[in-house]
């Protein structure tokens, strides 16, 4: 570490340092010589990709993994470079990160907090991963984010839409590129008012857990601000596969819009039930009945098939965007895997590049340096337009897409069409917004481990 100099002062100093080193317990496997957890020593640096490969979100997880592998290739200068060519920050040279070749380890979160933490720990303790990226579901994201904070490594959040991830559970070592429930509501409400009128009566079916509640709260707040009335909000148990009993009362309640705060298989089933009941053909209060799915994904759209035609929702990103970043990413993803990427794949890809770029700009892998480089970072060229990584809560602020199920699909991937790109100003909120933990929420201090 330091050269020993045999003056009295030098010996005393060394002694004090050594005893402090001995007294401090070593967390995880960081050796005492390292300045931070898992400081890369050799010619390579290891990233940890922690995604659901089994369980309800396995499709999304595997798509994320493909995108992350692609990002590693691009960082190492293989392939066509993808978004490295369009990214506004030019710190990345295609020679790895800080001259070290990028390798990765992958793990299976099984969409369970426990399994996700076990898998992340094995990456940190055994494989020496310097950061963890990915994950579907907010519960997992919050759990892994807490772990990475304690371990002293950076966590780049994958698909997590709950307000809590960068709200009351925000952490100094965690960063989220994906948008959140509040932004969905803020983006959707004006479009809904424009398309359906400002005097609608909405009925909510909500998955009965944290994410469902925060999304319902966000959508109710932003639609009521537009003049809508909320007739009823009904919680549906998680394991439901048949929602018919929840659909029947919707019409009787005098509602003319149904909001489905469901995700994944739940949404596919509830939407299918609603369409089978003929809700979309009904006319209530003199208006055509409408269905809204606030959070869309390509995989859900594919699962629901015909039923999503004309149904409105919001997304973080879509492969049909026409900016340079999107085109570059879709091209290299498509050429390698033969299909367009989903929006969860894009967010994970962007997160890997953002992390690598922050390391380059900070000139270190030290989580505190990287966090500082990411905080307040403005960039463009990764597909979402001009984006800001806000320092106060580590949330990305960028345009949000409002999309609609395609009426006349031209191919099997053409499931959603973009209705509007909601500008970032409209989805920006104060860091101490009450839905995000209010004044109590704090990032804490950055932890480099060791």
């Amino acid at each position: 570490m330091t050269k020993s100099n045999f003056t009295r002062r030098g010996v005393l100093k060394t002694g004090a340092g050594a005893s402090a080193g001995l007294a401090m317990p070593m967390f995880f496997t960081a050796s005492s010589a390292a300045a931070y957890t898992n400081e890369p020593k050799g010619g390579t640096v290891t990233l940890g990709f922690n995604v659901p490969q089994t369980g309800p979100y396995a499709d999304e997880g595997n798509d994320e993994l493909l995108a992350q592998q692609l990002a590693v290739e691009h960082l190492n200068g293989e392939g066509d470079g993808g978004c490295l060519n369009t990214f506004t920050s030019k710190a990345l040279k295609g020679n790895g990160i800080l001259g070290k070749k990028v390798t990765f380890v992958s793990g299976d979160t099984q969409t369970k907090s426990d399994a996700a933490r076990a898998s992340a720990k094995s990456m940190i303790e055994k494989d020496g991963a310097i950061m963890v990226n990915g994950g579907s579901s907010s519960g997992v994201a919050v759990a892994v984010q807490g772990l990475c904070q304690d371990a002293g490594i950076i966590f780049m959040v994958g698909l997590s839409h709950s307000n809590d991830t960068t709200g009351k559970d925000r952490k100094a070592n965690g960063f989220r590129h994906f948008f959140n429930a509040y932004q969905s509501g803020a983006a959707l409400a004006p479009v809904l008012a424009k398309e359906m009128g400002a005097d609608r009566r909405a009925y909510h079916l909500t998955a009965d857990y944290t994410w469902g509640w925060t999304q319902e709260e966000s959508i109710v707040a932003s639609t009521e601000a537009m003049g809508w009335e909320t007739v009823n909000t009904v919680k549906t148990p998680l394991a439901s596969t048949d929602f018919s009993s929840y659909i029947a009362p919707v019409i009787n309640a005098g509602a003319d819009v149904l909001v489905l705060n469901h995700y994944g298989g739940n949404m596919v089933n509830s939407l299918t039930n609603a369409v089978q009941f003929g809700l979309l053909d009904k006319v209530v209060n003199g208006k055509d009945f409408q269905i809204v799915v606030p959070l869309y994904s390509e995989l859900m759209a594919a699962g629901a098939g015909e039923n999503i035609k004309g149904v409105l929702g919001s997304m973080n990103w879509n492969w049909q965007l026409q900016d340079e970043g999107t085109k570059a990413f879709v091209k290299s993803f498509g050429e390698k895997y033969g299909k367009p990427p989903s929006n969860s794949a894009q967010t994970c890809y962007a997160q890997v590049l953002l992390y690598a770029d922050a390391c380059e700009r900070a000139g270190t892998f030290n989580p505190c340096g990287v966090a500082e480089a990411l905080e307040g970072f403005e960039f463009d060229g990764l597909g979402n337009g001009k984006t800001l990584y806000r320092a106060e809560d580590h949330q990305c602020f960028k345009d949000v897409l409002v999309v609609r199920g395609t009426q006349n699909p031209t191919n099997q991937y053409d499931t959603l069409e973009i209705v509007e790109v909601t500008p970032v100003e409209q989805v920006t909120y104060a860091p101490n917004h009450p839905m995000f933990g209010g004044d109590e929420a704090s990032l804490g201090t950055c932890n480099p481990g060791a």
């Binding site: 070593m26 967390f27 496997t29 490969q53 094995s122 759990a143 944290t210």
Partner: protein
């Protein structure tokens, strides 16, 4: 020794030795070698081995001895974890009160569930326990996590926040679970040549509990109480006809095994202060059944082996991705390499469940007594060979 007969004493000594030396045993490959992928000697997994070992030992006291197949044992594990985290939140990060409270809460919970479920036996008992466990899961996941009364923190899992009271926590104590100031996460790393071995406080702490649990299980197995439980398994009706009320015995076994699960849950929380509802999901209950059957139901060491194998598959095999496969077979010509990767791909990484399933099927068909029976057969084979050789050497060969 310890009031055990020679055979049990030897087994116990072997288990003690294995627990102490586990950081060496599970890290047989140098860190930089290609085989390091198979190393399992890192703190988190070692902790899981012993904690799920405790869980399975406890389950085996109920299932192995009385034959009552509980399909909801994960509920007690989850309840134990929640209890421990609440102690962390309200009082202190010291793990001792947390673990004691976890065991007590699990005991109370298992008395309640056991009292009702044990009114039936066989498949009805299994279904009742499954129903209770799923009910607990639903309660924890959504009902008890509403903003007005947040007992479990739902999907995110119960965790300790800076704003929590932690009445007995003060400056100078680590901000993580500790044993009177010694953090559970503290690890000493020893490097020997290319090898690295991790000695983790949490592991040895849980390991101590595993040894205690194992010792207690041996004593129960060999006690008159254990004999009574076996009698219930072999013929419950006859027991009843002899005028004996079997219910208190089964309830006692149920509660003991519930407490074991609570201990495991408390330890899990002590290693990592987060309790999630999916710990109580029915798949978690199914897992412990698999562990016990895979290792050998009704044997002493079996459940521990089964727990180890399943956790190993879950954590090691699931991490082998195509990238790793390509590295392994990179010595082969390109075409052959791809073929090998394609062949092995479905069984590793996300296919770890498939491999586990196949092993389970093979064990159930060919080794009904589980891994323990496999070990016995191998031992018999060697002993048999030795015996035969001994016989051979005494035979005189006739001269040509």
């Amino acid at each position: 020794m310890f009031g055990l007969n020679k055979k049990d004493g030897t087994l116990f000594l072997i288990v003690i030795a294995m627990t102490l030396l586990a950081p060496f045993i599970f890290n047989p490959f140098p860190t930089d070698s290609a085989m390091a992928q198979f190393n399992a000697g890192y703190p988190d997994l070692l902790q899981r081995f012993v904690i799920f070992g405790i869980f399975a030992i406890g389950f085996n006291i109920l299932f192995g001895l009385t034959g009552y197949l509980s399909f909801g044992h994960a509920a007690f594990l989850g309840v134990g974890s929640y209890a421990a985290v609440w102690i962390f939140k309200l009082f202190t990060y010291n793990v001792v009160p947390a673990i004691i409270f976890a065991v007590i809460v699990a005991a109370i919970f298992s008395v309640l569930i056991g009292f009702i479920s044990l009114r039936r036996s066989g498949i009805y008992f299994s279904i009742l326990t499954l129903a209770f466990a799923q009910m607990s899961f639903a309660l924890a996941y959504s009902v008890l996590s509403n903003p007005r009364f947040n007992l479990t923190n739902g999907e995110t899992g119960l965790q300790v926040y800076d704003a929590d009271p932690q009445m007995f926590h003060h400056e100078g104590l680590p901000g993580m679970p500790h044993l009177f100031g010694l953090p559970m996460r503290a690890t000493h790393e020893m490097t020997l040549g290319g090898w690295a071995f991790n000695f983790n406080v949490g592991y040895y702490f849980s390991g101590l509990f595993m040894l205690l649990a194992f010792y207690l299980a041996i004593r129960i197995f060999r006690s008159p109480f254990g004999m009574m439980l076996r009698a219930i398994k072999s013929n419950n009706t006859r027991m009843t006809y002899t005028g004996l009320n079997a219910k208190p015995y089964t309830l006692a076994a149920f509660v003991v095994s519930g407490m074991y699960a609570g201990l495991a849950g408390g330890l899990l929380a002590a290693m990592d202060p987060l309790a999630g509802a999916e710990r109580m999901f029915w798949t978690a209950s199914g897992e412990v059944v698999l562990m016990t059957i895979l290792g050998g139901a009704g044997t002493l060491i079996g459940p521990v082996l089964g727990a180890g194998l399943i956790k190993y598959m879950e954590n090691i095999v699931s991490k082998i991705n195509d990238n790793v496969l390509h590295q392994w077979f990179s010595f082969m010509p390109d075409g052959l390499e791809d073929v090998m990767v394609t062949l092995i791909h479905p069984f590793v990484g996300k296919g770890w469940n498939l491999t586990l399933g196949m092993i389970f099927v093979l064990v159930v068909i060919f080794l009904p007594g589980g891994l323990v029976e496999g070990g016995q057969r191998i031992a018999r084979l060697f002993r048999g060979k030795k015996a035969r050789e001994a016989e051979k050497s005494t035979q005189s060969n006739p001269a040509e």
